[in-house]
Symmetry: C2
Subunit: 225 residues, 2 copies
DNA sequence: ATAGTTTTGTGATATTCGTCACATTTAATA
DNA sequence: TATTAAATGTGACGAATATCACAAAACTAT
């Protein structure tokens, strides 16, 4: 498998700060692995031994809460996966599972640490990324707990359209049960609300195929519930 | 005001990794500021211009959500405040307010960046701290949204006893309204539940003075709701 | 294709909890 | 201490949504 990082089209902004020699080291010390839809990439409770970089495919980051499975967020390339769980704890504090077929780089943790050591730019990029993640998770949590469920569902659909698929027409990569786990509600409520959205002409659905037909309304629902 | 960081009893684990010269730079480029209970230390929406280190007193980190004020978490010394908001965004994404009289170090941001640049150990400590914060906030969010409200209230009381005051008898540093903002419920519900806890002999209250009289029960409530 | 599994749709019912209203207590300040 | 403001206690009521039950549909794999 091609493993010259300097030629990789999926390179991270942090890695762009590395010089050619450092990129060479990275090239020599990582492997690219494919995962099938549904495969587990990181499993909560196991030891974390590698830095993982997502270069292709969609994943969910989820955590086994006190009662049910909670999807913390969805992530798309290019992004590191599991930095917090690798540097912040001995064992993985959450799971990561492929929602589509994925390609992932496993980077040796000591090599990665050396890069942090050698390149201030690289490590500062990582610090900034971690800071952004945290702000994002504060906000996500505040939304989730304060907004009405309808608003959260609208947000999920808008997130798919705006950030993940960049199109108002897409195929839902997760089940209604999983949407429920993402916005903390039951699958029945998700089903009912989606029907409602369709009845109101905000979306059109056909199986997993979904189209946003009235973006304005959806944004209004996101705001007002 | 005393400003030799090498003599500071409140030094952070990250700063402990600095050499004497670097500590000297830090000493010369920070000021210690006192805040009174209720004072605003960081205000959401303003520019973030300093790194802030909390060396004394209790603070709340709160965010103005779509509808109401949400307390993200409470923080106690020694800890940096607002790293994410300083490195992750131009303007502060949340507010920090003193719950008790506080002492805080303001560190010049360029000086702090130079320290990150110069000391790999220092910057790696910061990375680890950020990673731990994020894991913690995933978990907090999962709890908050999944547990029953009673369980969350029990958690708050246990957090005061175990982590913040390290005693089963303490004076509540926040109002019932604020407890509500912390666990996403109304102040009325907080009031009702506290009465209930007292009636069941789990706690004893006298104004803001609170004593946990049956820790086992409280832990059970935390688990089972 | 067909049997089996997973996902989805929908009604009836129960529960939790927020909201409003107002009384009461406690704290803050002149 | 008098006056005002802030925090708390408590009842009645309603809205949002979880849960249960079951049917229908869609997808998987032999």
């Amino acid at each position: 498998m091609d493993s010259d990082c300097s030629l990789c089209p999926y390179i991270s902004t942090a890695e762009a700060k590395l010089d050619s020699c450092q990129l060479k080291t990275l090239s020599d010390n990582h492997i690219v692995v494919s995962f099938k839809k549904g495969d587990s990439i990181i499993k909560q409770g196991t030891y974390s031994t590698n830095i993982i970089f997502l270069r292709k495919g969609l994943v969910k980051i989820h955590i086994t809460g006190p009662y049910s499975e909670q999807i913390v967020k969805l992530a798309k390339p290019p992004t590191y996966l599991g930095l917090p769980t690798t540097f912040g704890a001995k064992v993985n504090q959450y799971s990561i599972t492929a929602l589509e077929d994925c390609e992932v780089c496993f980077i040796d943790i000591t090599v990665f640490r050396n890069l942090l050591r050698e390149s201030e730019h690289f490590s500062f990029e990582i610090i900034q990324a971690l800071c952004r993640y945290e702000i994002e998770s504060f906000r996500r949590c505040a939304n989730r707990t304060q907004k009405l469920t309808r608003g959260n569902l609208a947000d999920v659909l808008l997130d798919f359209a705006n950030n993940i698929f960049k199109s108002d027409s897409f195929i839902l990569p997760i089940s209604q049960q999983e949407i429920g786990n993402l916005i903390d509600t039951s699958r029945e409520s998700v089903s009912r609300m989606l029907s409602e959205f369709e009845k109101d002409g905000v979306i059109r659905m056909n199986g997993k195929q979904l189209e946003i037909t009235n973006r304005k309304s959806l944004e209004l629902i996101s705001l007002k519930g």
